[in-house]
Each structure stands twice: as structure tokens, then as C-alpha cells.
Symmetry: C2
Subunit: 291 residues, 2 copies
Amino acid sequence: MDLQAILAKNAAVVDSALQQYLPSPDGPGGHVAEAMRYMLRSGKRLRPLVVRHAARTFGWEGERVLPAACAFELLHSATLIHDDLPCIDDSPLRRGQPSCHVRSDEATAVLAGDALIVAAYAALADQTRVSAADRVVRVIAEFSQAVQELIAGEAADVHGEALPPDAELLEFIHLNKTAALFVAAARTGAILAEAAGSQLETITAYARSLGLLFQITDDILDATGDEASLGKPAGADAAAGKQTYPGVYGLAEAQRRADELRAEATRAAIDLPAEQEFWIALLDLLIERRT
Amino acid sequence: MDLQAILAKNAAVVDSALQQYLPSPDGPGGHVAEAMRYMLRSGKRLRPLVVRHAARTFGWEGERVLPAACAFELLHSATLIHDDLPCIDDSPLRRGQPSCHVRSDEATAVLAGDALIVAAYAALADQTRVSAADRVVRVIAEFSQAVQELIAGEAADVHGEALPPDAELLEFIHLNKTAALFVAAARTGAILAEAAGSQLETITAYARSLGLLFQITDDILDATGDEASLGKPAGADAAAGKQTYPGVYGLAEAQRRADELRAEATRAAIDLPAEQEFWIALLDLLIERRT
């Protein structure tokens, strides 16, 4: 399996589809639309990849869930813009380039994040080009619930900076801030492709482990990586006093937990009706990623 | 017609229904949920009133569009929180009380605004308890378009602070920042109540005039009111260099345009199939309002 080729093709398809959900850069409010495009110019499109392959797992072509897949990238980009703001994580760099509020200004970044949330819902509504409206509304409701969890996770992440290492708080942050949106992405693709019952549960369990693995790997990279490979200063999370897995449990235990999550996710992947090889390869990618 | 009694009853019904769309204030992210409740503790609930009476105009009880009506208050509250931020309007007061970011902090205010946008969509999705899913998706798509216009209008409003008075820019701001959401509120109630064709056009025209009248009245109040009645410093918009109707055209012309919009809206109201008296009384309320 050539996962890099799959990633490249996914990114090309998603990038092209994203454009239709962005407002026009012309007119007096056009600088917000321009800031949205700036934020979307890069990124691996991992969450749309999960939506599309969840649909494939249940017999649908990924193309058929492309509007919903775009919604996850639009929402993810919104969270990156707002998280980077001075009042939240105060990150001047994102993927090695100026963050949105540095390139534009804070007002534009706040509004561009808002507009990306709204664009995500416009993309979900557009899924009715392919899917029955009642199924789309179900997806919109689940998506909204996941984004509320994400926001609660981000709020806990900021709040946790002032606190001593706390295992319960760390788990809340990892589940909500990161895993919730991966779970929603997998479930969205699966639900649109009419998965139900125990198979829907299996892909939910896979995505939960994947999301937790993603965040623990992020924490490990923050503790062990360098700025050139991370695209942002190494140790920034630890320096900010954030709750991280190595910070609470130490690096060796973080590595052990990552291995355990990878094993759990692999077991779930094997139980899926198709695409097992893809889902297993995706775990390797997350562990080896550098930005 | 006792509009004050209608307003009070509308506010009670909407306030009670809003609660179900807010995340729990418990847990590590609960301070964001608490900030959402703080922002929603007051307000006239004008946009839900418009949604509910638009439905009544076409033969539906207002109760039947209550989820969609809530969505407009949730979204409106999100825009107030983000507009008050230091990087946008830098307003420490809202309705005579500390703004959300002053009462909590900026990070909480950014996230509470985001969460209110998401809660608005959860409320729209919940409208499927009453309405067919395809009609709800249509409403979600129109709502998303209106909110993009609102954001572009707000962006133009901020941008316009550095510019000399500009009639074209002023019109863009008034149409997008204020009128678009009133138009969407009226259309949402009407579409859910199965209005179509020229009757949908008539209520659209009414709401557009209402929205423009609302903003011009706001501009006039900023130029002529006092802090006690406004709930914020008088002349704040003018002092910030904002594009206002009196600033571009003078106070006498602003008053003349307000009278003209009121006459246009009254003509549209008379053409509606029901609730004419309510829609005409609502115009008086907007002109006489003080906060």
C-alpha cells in the first residue's frame, strides 16, 4: 500500500472541493475570505481522509462523501486559527509559517475562524446532493456534539496550563480536544455509507484509539522533536505548562501507552469489513509524522 | 396590540427553550458553557420573535419553529461576544454590564462565541422534531449564507474605521452586518411554514427594510443617545471612526431615510397574509428602543 500516494491524491481532491465552500475574496469583507484561504493553503487533510475511507470501508466511493469530508477540514482549520491567537496558545508560527493572526491581524483571524465554522456547516448541508436529508441532519447533529466536545477540550487545555500534572484532566483533554473530531469524521463517513450496529461501533472504537494516539504522539514529538521538523518551537507545550502525556506519566510510559493504543486500533481495524490495510497503514503514518 | 406583552412572552418561551442547546457547565471545560449562559442571560430575543411571527404569518404556531428561532439568538449572541473583543470593537460594556471577555477572559470569550455558533446549528438540526429534513437542510444552507454575509459585514465595519465616510461601504455594512440575519430569520420562519413565491418575497422585503431601519436607528442613537439609556458610551461608534449613516449623510438625512424604510416596511407588512398589525408595531418598537 502506497499511503503517500493515497495522501497526495486525497489532498488534491479535497483541496479542489474546498474552494466552493469559501466566500468570495472580493468586496469590503474580502480580507476574511483571503485569510481563510491562507489557512487552508497547507495541511495533510487527515480528517477528510478518514471521512472518505470510512465511507469506502462500507462500500461507498470516497467521492460520494466529499462535501462532508470538506466540512472536517474547514472546522479543523477554524480551530487552528483560534487556538493560535495570543489569548489562547499565542503561537506566532503554524507549520513553519506565520500564523493567521500574524499574517493578517487578530480581528481578521477571529472572523476567519468563525467563517470557517460556518463554511463547515454549509459543506455538510451540501452533502444532500448525494445523501438523504434525514441522514445529513443526523450527521450535522453528531458533528455539532463533537465540536462542542472539542471546544470543551480546548478550554480545559488552556485552563490546565496553570495546574499541576493531572491524569484525569489530561484524559479529558485528549478525548475531547483531539479524539472527538476523528471519531466524528469516521462516523460521518460510515453513517453516510449506511453503516450501523456493531460495524459502526468498531470504526468508532478505531477512530477513538487513532485520535488518542495522534495526541500522545503530538505530546511525545513536542518533548523530543526539533523546530525544523515540527514547524513550531519544540517544547512549546511543556514550556507553556500544558498537560501532556509525558508531563503526567513520563516519556517511557507515554511510549508504552502509544504502543497500546496502536495495538487496540489495529485489532479494531482487522474487524472492519474492508480497508483494513489502509487503516493499519494510517497508524504508522501518525506515529512517524513530523508536522 | 400589546407588543410589550408579546415580547415578554416570547422572551420567556425562547429563554426556556435555549437551555437545551447549551453544553453542560460541569467538567473541566465548564467555564465556556458558563460564559455562554452569561451572554444569554439578557436580550430582547428580537430575532427569535421574527422567526416565530414569520411562521405565524403563514399559519403555523410560533411554538413549532422554536428550535430554529433559538438558533438565531444563539448565533446573535456569538457575534456580540466576538464583536466586543479587544481586537474587534474593544467594548468593555454590553447592555450596561461587563462584556463576556471582561467578566471571564479573552480565551473563554473566543471559545464561548465558537460554541454558540455550533449550538445554533444544533438547534437548527433539532427543528427536524417538527419539520421535514429536506426543509431543515434548506434552512441550514440559507442560514450559513446569511452568517457569511454577517461576518463580511462585520469585517467591513472594522476595516471601515480607518477610512473616510463612504456611502457604498456604509450600504455594504448595513445590508450584511445587520439586515442579512433579520432577512434569514423571517425567511426561516416562513420557509418552515411552507411559504413560497411572492409571499416569501414580500416577507423578505419587509425584513430587509426592518434590518436596515434597525441599523440606522442604532447609528442615530449612537449620535444622540446617552450612556444610561444605551447601556454603553454614547458616540462610541463615531469616536471609533466607524462608518455610520449620520456620519456619511448627516443626522437629518439619516432620519429621512429611517422614515422612508419604515414606510417601505409598512407597505410590505400590509401585503402579508396575516400578522400585519404585529409587523407594523415591531417597526415602532425598533425606532423607540433604547438598548
